[in-house]
């Protein structure tokens, strides 16, 4: 594997925002997730839970509820607006004011009727407003009967003729046709945080008294009460089994079971309890096979239900997603600078230096401490969506949804000047990349185009726009690197899974692509075909332990000293793939670095294989190789994130 001098960076204070709302689209198997800072994330559950898209947040946008209508995504928030998102260009498409004060909830009919789809919002002033979803916009239809107190939760009956609304102290059922309330169920001094309306007219409510109550929707009578917690039941999600999240951080599952094995009389029985969160569970989704939960502790947890999946498979493993599936750190390889991206500012740091020597594993004395050079605040109210630093450390670029900014850096004097004249086509970007000689900037822009800009000393010049020929999906996460090819060179064969990281080898011009399902491909751009090594790898198959990892590879790079080495990393390890060594067999140990170290020299050769993995550093945000052959490792320990979270509202203590 070779020895590296490692810069172990722990001064990136990345803080993810709390999860506020989730919506799952069963047809496309996409999960939309809204965070407290207004950012939206789309996860593809069919493709290894990969975070496909991120729509950056905005100051003042607080998403309280999300809902899918077909492939369209709507959100509503406490600013009283309904927003539809453009999922192609990753920005809000339009915003409609609902004129009813803060909106607490939004709900659409589960299946679409022909043409128009009604969509409802519950407002602070006690109205339930109905909107019609048209082709390109939504239109206000009418108000249902106005109630006293705010509407907290809404749920459609599957027949689309009735709707149940949870309010302060009350659950009300509305007839959609007439707009009149047809029934009400009262409970005392509680906030009905969430509600579910089942096809057999059973209404299930979760309230602030910690109860999950099962009501008969036809008569409005209480059928059963489950005291789940001493505190609030915040989220509820249903199917034939139902899950409820509490403010203690637990998720409780209820199932509709018959009491005897052959019996018919079924009943809702409280079954499992999951405790995966330290803080409130604010959002819950029950998919076919798993319970997805998120809350104040910022982690998205996918907990498969063991009765629905095969045991001891990759599917049955619990997943916790803490970090974004893209890199928030940019590294200037030549200058030894690090750029950290936060939603509202950028930080530029210079790495420390050390001249000490020591044995492997020792920590060397630091001669010069790392220092923060620049903190750059963004302009406007949109959050930063991408940023980049040129390898020489002379250029810095960032983009929001609406604007793009390029800065010239003087490293010696630490001065920053904004490049004022920018080409017109460069309004915003999803991904930014500099060429290795820092002379070109590539920006992926609207409508899947890539804009190429030449950077000269005084200003920059627009060179070219690469436009996809057909309706290709844009490379939202993959970073393009290196050479400029002014004409379309070739098209890499399409693979079913989304690429998580790509890189072009500086000397051999091989393209290395890593996909969300952990597959690795190497494609020769010269021969326009997969390389021999890639074919061998596909033939033999990757090691099962490699495939079972649950975080995607977020970056691929190469070692200039050893052209056969590919360096890649995910959240829990980094790996050097040595293409000159044999591939690991199915039965060999994948993590064998410790064993190799203990073996005598001749035995080592026998046990070596191509995958050299290092788990010394955990919770990795970034692993880069600098020019001087030292490695930069940016860690963000989850414990640090936990300690910076606000104190939980309620915490279960032993013997209480």
């Amino acid at each position: 594997m070779g020895e590296f001098k490692v810069h172990r960076v722990r001064f990136f204070d990345y803080m993810p925002a709390a999860i506020r709302a989730m919506a799952f689209n069963r047809r496309t198997e996409r999960l939309a997730l809204a965070r407290a800072d207004g950012a939206l994330e789309i996860f593809n559950f069919a493709d290894n839970y990969f975070q496909e898209k991120v729509i950056p947040g905005q100051d003042g946008r607080a998403v309280e509820a999300l809902c899918w209508v077909g492939r369209r995504l709507f959100s509503a928030g406490l600013n009283g607006e309904i927003t539809e998102y453009d999922l192609e260009n990753l920005r809000p498409r339009y915003t409609v004011e609902a004129y009813g004060g803060p909106i607490w909830t939004i709900s659409a009919v589960a299946y679409s009727l022909s043409g128009c789809v009604p969509c409802q919002v519950g407002c602070e002033d006690g109205t339930v407003k109905m909107f019609e979803v048209l082709e390109d916009r939504i239109q206000f239809q009418r108000n249902l009967d106005r109630q006293k107190g705010r509407i907290i939760s809404l749920c459609w009956h599957p027949s689309a003729s009735l709707i149940a609304a949870g309010m302060m102290d009350m659950i009300r059922i509305f007839d959609v046709e007439t707009g009149k309330g047809v029934g009400a169920s009262k409970s005392k001094e509680v906030v009905v945080w969430s509600i579910a309306f089942l096809s057999d007219h059973t209404i299930i409510s979760g309230d602030s008294a910690g109860k999950v109550q099962i009501w008969d929707g036809l008569t409005g009578t209480l059928a059963r009460t489950h005291l789940v917690t001493k505190w609030d039941v915040l989220a509820l999600s249903d199917e034939s089994s139902l899950v409820a999240g509490t403010s203690e951080g637990t998720v409780v599952q209820f199932q509709f079971l018959s009491s005897t094995l052959d019996g018919q009389n079924k009943d809702w029985v409280r079954t499992r309890t999951f405790k995966n969160h330290s803080h409130d569970v604010r959002a819950l989704v029950h998919t076919e096979t798993a319970v997805v939960s998120g809350g104040m502790d910022t982690q998205l947890v996918v907990r498969p239900l063991l009765d629905k999946v095969e045991k001891n498979t990759q599917e049955s493993a619990m997943r916790k997603m803490a970090f974004p599936h893209r890199s928030l750190v940019c590294c200037a390889k030549k200058a030894g600078l690090l750029l950290f991206q936060f939603p509202d500012h950028l930080e530029l740091w210079r790495l420390g230096e050390s001249d000490g020597h020591g044995n492997p594993g020792d920590s060397l004395p630091v001669k010069r401490k790392p220092e923060k050079l620049i903190q750059l605040k963004r302009k406007g109210e949109d959050h930063i969506c991408c940023s980049a630093l040129s390898p020489c450390g002379g250029w810095l670029a960032y983009s929001t949804v609406t604007s793009f900014r390029l800065y010239r850096l003087q490293n010696n004097t630490i001065s920053i000047t904004k490049v004022s004249k920018l080409p017109k086509d460069l309004r915003s970007a999803h991904q930014l990349c500099f060429s290795t000689d820092s002379s070109r900037l590539f920006a992926s822009s609207i409508n899947s185009s890539v804009v190429v800009v030449a950077l000269n000393q005084p200003e920059c010049k627009y060179l070219h726009t690469l436009k996809p020929k057909s309706g290709e999906q844009q490379p939202t996460t993959a970073s393009v690197s290196l050479s400029v090819r002014l004409q379309l060179h070739c098209t890499v064969p399409v693979y079913g899974s989304c690429p998580t990281a790509i890189a072009i080898h500086p000397t051999s011009s091989n393209l290395v692509v890593v996909h969300a399902d952990q597959q690795i491909f190497e494609y020769s751009l010269v021969q326009k075909e997969y390389t021999e090594w890639s074919r061998r790898l596909q033939k033999q198959g990757l090691h099962s332990l490699w495939l079972e990892r649950d975080t995607p590879i977020t970056h691929v790079t190469f070692n200039p000293k050893h052209p056969a080495h590919i360096i890649l990393h995910d959240m829990f390890m980094f790996c050097v793939i040595d293409q000159s060594l044999p591939l690991p067999e199915a039965k060999t140990r994948l993590f064998n670095q410790m064993i190799l170290r203990s073996l005598p020299e001749p035995m080592r050769i026998l046990h070596r294989h191509a995958f050299k993995m290092c788990k010394t550093f955990q919770n990795l945000m970034c692993v880069r190789l600098l020019e001087d052959h030292s490695l930069v490792v940016v860690e963000r320990p989850l414990l640090d994130i936990m300690s910076q979270l606000p104190a939980p509202v309620r915490q279960k203590r032993f013997a209480t």
Binding site: L227, V228, L257, L261, R270, T271, R272, T273, K308
Partner: protein
């Protein structure tokens, strides 16, 4: 009376009543529980034992009401029989013999037609169809194995709704597995998490619904549902217990689930509304079993301190049936309270129990430590380690000790006065840290005048202290230290007062110092090198001039205090030496080759009054002479020593054998030891049984002993008949033990001289030993003189032996 009265060891009671869960009868009036080899019938309202169902020859392992007749009960036992009883009258109705009787070690009864039992080593669940016939003795023919590899823990098998499909549990599957043999294909439900301590402890099935409750080692209870599907089973987890759940039970209607564990709290969960639960705390000690009466009004909990609590509708403890508490170990010596004549030993943690030997019943517990007991594993608790009574029983001294890891032990000495009004002991004085190190021995002076009492405690810190009650106490008498003595900085081991209280002997390793308590002056020292003194004992009555001592070098010495010289000594490995306070006799237990011999002798002469070989297996650690309520008039020499008192002892198998065993010729062998006793004791048992019919001794005893000391006639009859039957069967069956039987026979026939020949007496006189002794380097002049004198002793009996 009897010219050939033999002395036998019998089990006197104190057996466990908490080994299996108790059974409450349909009318809730009686409670049945397995107790050793008997089934005891208690009244639920008065706590009294109404009947003893005797007949099994080994440990009873299961009791079950007969579903078709509520007045009858089945019991099964390790001896391989299933018996049917009428418990209201205490009559044995039917004996059913199981053919695989040899291998049944554990069995449970579940249904009327089907009896499930588990065979040794294999641990199979076997269905036995009990044939319906009118005969007294039936052999069960139909046996079918239902499931192999079940757990040996009876709580880990449960039977569900309907006989056809009982859900069972299998331990060969990973921990936490339940088997559910639906018709013919059992399959496993598993719940496994890495590192989880979720070993299955107990199981219960809902009476109406298809729901299985399992209790786990980590304190969680899981309610399994939907388990007929291979995959889509589901469970609810209930968690209140912080230690392993040891028992689970549904109420008959299935509305509540009861659980209990180490916390000694009975938890009542509402079925289907598990967040609502009721607690009945402070039940005293860990719950081992829970039983519910068929009408659901009474709950019974068995506790680890050999107690059954009867609870009315989960709110009120209405009755407590308490057996002999046997904790982890008896740290105190066995003591006899001079007033109540009850046996005193460690009971519940921090308590002393007063146990009536005559009635086999716990009289009361006395809280010594007076601290809240925290139920947690691995916690260092205060323990009562020493108890002493003064002669009239007015004062009791206790020592409690707590030894935290890597810290000085905390020791408290407490003195208790007997209060005539409340008829119990009241705390008078607490001395915290009476000594700097562990107290090794403690005794009251046997003051003849009964006025001044004195307590002497010896400790490892090198001192012994005398404590006295000052006369001129103006604010109520309290004890204070009177004298601190030491001897060459050695640590005192034992201390002992002479019968009249005029002398105090304290042993410092190999030296015995004799002090005068009146003036606290060192009168003399006696020593017997090379090893330390292990036990000290003054003679009583006529032999009060003698001081007996045992050393670690297997020597029993007798000093004459008038001449201050060694009277005699003999080489025997005495593990325990004790004197009978009412007679001159002393008893010594000798441990040899896994079994213990008993010798009874008078200090004045070096020949045993009586000797018994192989009293029990293992080492006897605690014993006591208890006075008889009425004296016996036995003229025979070998049993005369038992005329005034009985000898009780505890064996080393303390964890299993909790029996106090009495030596008396007049009790028939009624019951024997607990389970897990090794094969040795079983064979000895048969060896003792054998002579009964042959010498027609039993008949003579029956005829000649007074009626009030005999057990009920029904029991005697069956015993008698049985003994006649067994004698033939045993001979063929247990051929490998024939040799031992022969030996025991011989013992019966041999004369008393022969008996003596078996005592290991000759050695001290033999020249071989002498040479060995002279070879020992440092022999003082006095010791040589002593040896010479010993040689001159009368060894005529030895010559007898050699001639015969």
């Amino acid at each position: 009376m009897v010219e050939h009265g033999d002395i036998r060891v019998v089990h006197r009671g104190g057996s466990k009543i908490n080994s299996r869960e108790p059974v409450v009868t349909n009318d809730s009036r009686f409670l049945l529980c397995a107790s050793g080899e008997r089934v005891k019938v208690f009244s639920t309202s008065t706590e009294e034992c109404v009947h003893d169902l005797r007949g099994h020859t080994d440990l009873v392992t299961g009791v079950l009401l007969r579903p078709t007749n509520h007045l009858q009960v089945y019991s099964c036992s390790v001896d391989g029989t299933v018996r049917l009883w009428d418990f209201t009258d205490g009559i044995l109705i039917k004996v059913q013999l199981d053919y695989c009787s040899v291998c049944v070690t554990c069995s449970w009864l579940m249904f009327d037609i089907v009896c499930m039992c588990v065979c040794a080593e294999l641990f199979q669940l076997v269905a036995v169809h009990l044939p319906q016939s009118g005969d007294q003795l039936v052999e069960a023919q139909e046996l079918s194995a239902v499931l192999s590899n079940v757990s040996s823990n009876p709580a880990a098998t449960g039977f569900g709704r309907g006989v056809r499909a009982p859900p069972l549990r299998s331990p060969n599957a990973p921990p936490g597995a339940i088997t559910y043999p639906k018709t013919d294909s059992p399959h496993l439900l598993t719940t496994q998490r890495k590192g989880g301590k979720n070993t299955l402890m107990c199981i219960a099935c809902h009476p109406k619904d298809d729901c299985i409750a399992t209790g786990h080692e980590d304190g969680k209870i899981r309610l399994w549902r939907n388990f007929n599907h291979k995959k889509e089973y589901t469970y609810t987890t209930l968690h209140w217990h912080h230690n392993a759940v040891s028992s689970l039970r549904f109420t008959p209607e299935g509305t509540n689930l009861l659980s209990g564990g180490l916390e000694s709290v009975l938890v009542q969960w509402r079925y289907n509304q598990e967040s609502e639960r009721d607690f009945l705390p402070r039940l005293g000690s860990a719950i081992t079993h829970i039983a519910v009466s068929p009408d659901g009004t009474l709950f019974c909990t068995s506790h680890s301190d050999n107690k059954i609590t009867i609870i009315q509708s989960c709110v009120k403890v209405s009755a407590v049936i308490q057996g002999l508490v046997n904790g982890e170990s008896v740290r105190t010596d066995l003591m006899v309270d001079p007033r109540s004549k009850s046996l005193v030993l460690n009971g519940k943690p921090g308590h002393l129990q007063f146990y009536s030997l005559q009635r086999d019943k716990l009289l009361y517990n006395l809280d010594i430590v007076q601290q809240e007991y925290i139920h947690e594993l691995g916690l260092q608790q205060f323990e009562v380690v020493k108890v002493a009574f003064d002669a009239p029983g007015n004062w009791m001294a206790t020592v409690e000790e707590r030894k935290p890891k890597a810290a000085e032990p905390e020791i408290n000495l407490k003195l208790w006065a007997f209060d005539e009004q409340t008829q119990s002991f009241v705390l008078n004085t607490t001395v915290s840290a009476p000594h700097e190190a562990q107290i090794t021995s403690m005794c009251f002076s046997q003051a003849a005048d009964g006025q001044t009492s004195m307590l002497v405690s010896a400790s490892e810190d090198g001192h012994f202290k005398a404590w006295q009650l000052p006369r001129s106490a103006y604010e109520g008498p309290s004890w204070s230290c009177d004298f601190v003595g030491d001897y060459r900085g050695l640590a005192p081991q034992c201390c002992c007062f002479s019968a009249d209280g005029s002398l105090l002997a304290v042993s410092f390793q190999e030296v015995v110092t004799v002090w005068s308590p009146a003036s606290w002056e060192l009168l003399t020292t006696l020593s017997q090198p090379p090893k330390a003194i292990r036990d000290l004992c003054f003679g009583r009555l006529g032999c009060s001039k003698y001081l007996m001592g045992t050393t670690a070098s297997n020597l029993l010495c007798c000093w004459n205090l008038l001449t201050c010289s060694l009277e005699w000594s003999t080489s025997m490995d005495v593990s325990l030496l004790l004197s009978d306070p009412l007679t001159e006799n002393m008893a010594a237990f000798c441990c040899q080759a896994e079994s213990t011999d008993l010798f009874v002798f008078k200090p004045s002469e070096p020949r045993p009054v009586a000797s018994l070989k192989a009293v029990c297996s293992g080492k006897v650690t605690r014993a006591v002479f208890a006075p008889r309520e009425e004296m016996l008039e036995s003229c025979e020499e070998s049993s005369q020593w038992l005329n005034r008192s009985q000898l009780y002892f505890l064996t080393q198998h303390m964890l299993f054998i909790d029996d106090s065993v009495a030596m008396t010729p007049f009790y028939l062998l009624l019951g024997k030891h607990r389970k897990q006793e090794n094969q040795d004791s079983l064979t000895r048992l048969s060896a003792e049984l054998m002579p009964l019919p042959r010498g027609s001794l039993a008949i003579k005893e029956l005829l000649q002993s007074p009626a009030h000391v005999l057990p009920s006639t029904s029991v005697l009859c069956s015993m008698f008949v049985e003994s006649l039957l067994v004698s033939v069967a045993d001979g063929s069956e247990e051929s490998k033990h024939a040799e031992e039987e022969m030996e025991s026979e011989k013992e019966e026939e041999d004369s008393e001289g022969e008996m003596e020949s078996r005592t290991p007496r000759p050695e001290p006189a033999s020249p071989g030993l002498q040479s060995a002794e002279s070879a020992a380097p440092a022999l003082t002049k006095a010791q040589l003189k002593e040896l010479r004198r010993v040689k001159k002793l009368d060894h005529g009996w030895l010559a007898d032996l050699l001639l015969s």
